[in-house]
Subunit: 441 residues, 2 copies
């Protein structure tokens, strides 16, 4: 049943109406570094790649949706850019695809490779992800967490034996869509240098917290790495030969903040939020450990902290990430309004607008609340299509070809028609063999 | 019954055995800025002051215990130093003491001024603090939260209509004492300048997270303001005429980081964790808002964020703080060890030691985990008594006198025998009329 729908979707991708086909190479020639692609077409293309690499069709569709959502929110480091790595992991057999025979038939929707609950009460669960794609595990966990929070007011669901789950905010959004507060966290592979340490020993371990607010689809949407910046920001400066601000990263010795992005990438690492010890980097380090404990120790992960394998396709073993999801039903905490509606969204909307309307330090830069920039990016993406850096788009085309997919049928025209290059620039993370960032902004 | 015990305790304070009386003025004369005081004596002295100022005896004992605990943990800004402000609030009628007739008899242990549950399920509660001292509300909330977490694996208890509750870690510790993970948060009065804003509009809004680890009373103990530093660190530099590091605070314009502590205190404000926008201060600001939402919006506080009254005795209205407590029973998430013991504490101990044993960037500075410095301070306090700055000790003596208490009977000898000064230095926060810091380190 599910399979039928999925195959139907794929046919729609591959038999794209000619009317929306257009040549976008002018964009590149004119000097722009980006192309704009139809969201559904892009999702279907990425899904087809993942499926071709070995993922079950329904898993592929879900992961593609999560990746493209990141591009739409203005977080390209966690978007389509990641498809290549996921495919390499699948092809290397690092992610569980048992039951999938390569024909698109995964046999049983509830086969032994699906995530399972190993412990639970009315309010909590611990889930074995059975080494599925992280998004598959997270989706399963959040559905359980949402149900339990609706029943008892709060739920805490943790997962072990999982993988990269994309932007943490995607999972918090699932709670938000149900009128709940959602928190999502994950541990990741080491890229951060802890306070007083010499080398990388902690992930970027993000925290997302989304809360529903009334009016015009408003909400609080925090989604942040517990490092000062994600790897992507260092990489952008590296590519553009720009210095980074002091405080973002350290050199190989661990003690010196540096303005040289190359040193951070090659031998140093990211600082925890707060930067060096003098500016309270130990707090970001503490938050980072809190995420590690709630995700990896509480769920029973095999490897924790410095011992989590690097996120590389040649690592030979599963990464075994852990996640943690907290769902809260605010309506069970507060009395309703007189008309029977919940009072929480109105009160939150009032607070958010109160902050937005604070007198700004600089007239041209209004005070924002978490989620405002990303909502703007989403609005733009809905209008003009998903914005992809040309390098990322060309890498996706190369991926489609390398996987032996039919690029004529599969690639959105804006990507298919990009000029050929002798040297496809490595995608922004190609030089970061141990990049473990799964975090937003 | 409770009253009888309390009065008995007070008699013990006031009739201190002569054997432990000693003259500590030598300490001051020799140039040290600190005196060391017996913990129980200090608690009883502070409790007597609070009771004299109008708090019920059992409330006074609890609050004194919380304040002295902060001094023992090396967080003097949140210790005995705060007794004066609490007494002023009580005397100004800003904190509810209804039912207390000044004789030490508060009439009914369950009188109308006690905190009450206004909404609850098996896993959550919302508590009206009825404007009691914050510690009284927090104690009530944590007892409920611990019970519920033991029953269902997780609990979330929020409070409104409360006051300053001291160090957030004290409340997380209550969960830890029961083998649980405890998180404690509170909103506070504005002292932080949000990213892109011009002036103070958010509290220091701390987050504490304690997690039990096996072996030698080990644990993870994070307790941090979501500002870069608490007010106390700025004040210390101000008193010592030292520059502060760039990134701790901003000037009145909100845009400029400054090294001048006076500018931060008089007209500027604290930065969120991360510092300026360039170094990801928006993340600390986002965390700060998350705490505000979970504490104040979710519990239904009357004033939120920028509208929370300043923490001053002349404010004329209750501050109406909100708190949020999350308790997690880790043993319900994981299978037990073969001997039936919980596996979580062992796994956490392994992770903590793994971090402590990372190669340090500087040989003389070992990598720490949150709680290590405070545990060391507690060990010292247990050995040598509670360390108080002379200014704080002299202020306490002045408070005892101003309240009309019997200083001969009440003051620990190390404080009573301090040299008299014509000018008792203002306690470290006296010049910070709008100080709202309730946070550790």
């Amino acid at each position: 049943m599910v399979l039928g729908i999925l195959l139907e979707r794929r046919r729609k991708v591959w038999h794209k109406p000619a009317s929306i086909t257009k040549n976008s190479s002018d964009v590149v020639k004119s000097g722009s570094n980006h192309v704009y692609v139809n969201r559904q077409e892009l999702e279907r293309c990425v899904a087809a790649c993942l499926e071709q690499a070995g993922a079950p069709p329904d898993h592929s569709v879900l992961v593609a949706r999560v990746l493209v959502a990141a591009d739409c929110r203005g977080i390209p480091s966690h978007g389509v850019n990641r498809a290549e790595m996921y495919c390499q992991e699948l092809q290397a057999g690092l992610i569980h695809t048992i039951g999938y025979d390569g024909t698109g038939d995964d046999g049983d929707d509830n086969n032994s490779s699906d995530p399972t609950i190993v412990r639970e009460t009315d309010s909590i669960a611990n889930i074995n992800g059975h080494n599925n794609l992280g998004a598959v595990v997270a989706q399963y966990a959040m559905e359980i967490g949402i149900q339990k929070a609706k029943a008892t007011g709060v739920s805490l669901v943790v997962c072990h034996n999982s993988n990269h789950f994309g932007i943490a905010g995607y999972w918090a959004q699932l709670a938000l869509d149900q009128g709940l507060i959602g928190l999502a966290m994950t541990n990741t592979s080491p890229f951060m240098v802890p306070t007083r340490a010499k080398s990388r020993a902690a992930g970027t371990n993000p925290i997302a917290c989304y809360c529903p607010a009334a009016g015009n689809n408003d909400s609080f949407q925090l989604d942040m790495a517990t490092t000062t910046v994600p790897v992507g920001k260092i990489e952008v400066c590296h590519r553009q030969n720009q210095a980074i601000p002091l405080g973002w990263g350290v050199t190989a010795s661990g003690t010196q903040s540096t303005t040289d992005p190359t040193k951070v990438m090659s031998s140093g690492g990211l600082t925890p939020l707060g930067g060096l010890e003098e500016t309270a980097g130990y707090k970001g380090y503490g938050l980072n450990m809190m995420v590690e404990i709630l995700c990896a120790v509480l769920s029973g992960c095999q490897q924790v902290g410095p011992d989590v394998p690097p996120w590389r396709a040649d690592r030979g073993v599963p990464v075994g990430y852990g996640h943690c999801f907290l769902c809260i039903d605010p309506h069970q905490f507060l009395p309703n309004n007189e008309d029977g509606s919940s009072s929480f969204p109105q009160q939150l909307a009032h607070y958010l607008d109160r902050m937005r309307n604070l007198p700004p330090a600089e007239e041209r830069l209004a005070v924002l609340v978490p989620g405002d920039p990303e909502r703007q990016e989403e609005a733009w993406a809905a209008q003009q299509g998903v914005r992809l850096h040309v390098n990322v788009a060309q890498s996706l085309r190369t991926l489609v070809r390398d996987l032996g997919c039919n690029e004529e049928m599969l690639l959105p025209p804006e990507i298919r028609n990009l000029p050929e290059t002798n040297h496809v620039a490595p995608h922004p993370f190609a030089s970061l063999a141990t990049d473990a960032s799964t975090t937003a902004k």
